[in-house]
Symmetry: C2
Amino acid sequence: MPDLPSPFASKAQRDQARHAKKEAVLRAAVDLFNERGFHATSLDDIASRLGITKPAIYHYFGNKDQVLFHGLTVGMEQLRAAVDEARRHSGRGVDRLRAFLILYAEINMTAFGRCVILTEEHELMDASRRRFRTLKREIDTALRELLREAVEDGTVVTSDLRLTAFALAGALGWVARWYKDDGQQSAMQIANGLVDGLIKGLAPR
Amino acid sequence: MPDLPSPFASKAQRDQARHAKKEAVLRAAVDLFNERGFHATSLDDIASRLGITKPAIYHYFGNKDQVLFHGLTVGMEQLRAAVDEARRHSGRGVDRLRAFLILYAEINMTAFGRCVILTEEHELMDASRRRFRTLKREIDTALRELLREAVEDGTVVTSDLRLTAFALAGALGWVARWYKDDGQQSAMQIANGLVDGLIKGLAPR
């Protein structure tokens, strides 16, 4: 006779369920922050979108600042992973830069990525703000380094590395403001279109 | 004997004084909105920065939404004037586009221009939001038209007009986020540096 599955959840199953619930809270929160803004969104709004109660949210997060900070952390982790992925890319400097920019643009069109762009530092409490700023600086530095390496191996030309890095971040950050998931162009098409144009503009001639 | 100046203010002088006071309220408000965000700024904060009382602000504006909307209007008028100035520019399409982009970047580093970029539509009440959206669309359309004209006279090359317009707006809008008036580079140097790079990227080859 085959073993019947246990009707009791294992530790791993409970952990997984807890993790999934936490993620669902963050996703609902981030969607609301992106739509209405952080200040105009209450924990009650988040709870009601999920059909749960506010105390259920307190089970995972101490307050709204914590919810925002954890939502931002998800987005920042995606960006960090994008840096790592681009770094692993073999080939020329411009290929690694391109790989990162595509991922960067795509992330900026996701809920968590949009939240990173749309959140202003002054919306966070002191401790969260400092950590958010540190994480953002890490991404900025990585972008600048990828650009520098492409300049050094001669596959990209620019007269001002710092301004070019800002221009790239701005051109691809802006999508968080205007992108609508209306099916006109997919996030991937937009990312490719934008990055192709930008990279072409940086090509040696 | 020469005429002595009248100790009584003329109608024109009173109007001018009123206008100057209204502008000062807007400027103080916009500075605070840019620093702390709209929601975290109260009318009391604005009054206390000017050393006046809250009722003195009510003399000019009905509520905080009105203060924000009028501050945005000042910024939008600067952008509109920039479109007009670029349109009057003789020369090729790329010259008119360049003229507009320089002004656009410079405005985005002023207090009122930063406020236009940093304000999210959901921070405004319905009527103000609709007007803000209309004004912004006007500027977006003007940028796209200037780009189209430069493509049509062959002085700019792009495969996707819409995405390129967004990329330009993003690259130059981002300065509202990172620009600090710390004397490292002047607003004019930054504007020129950014726009030179972008325009070079759009040049026919």
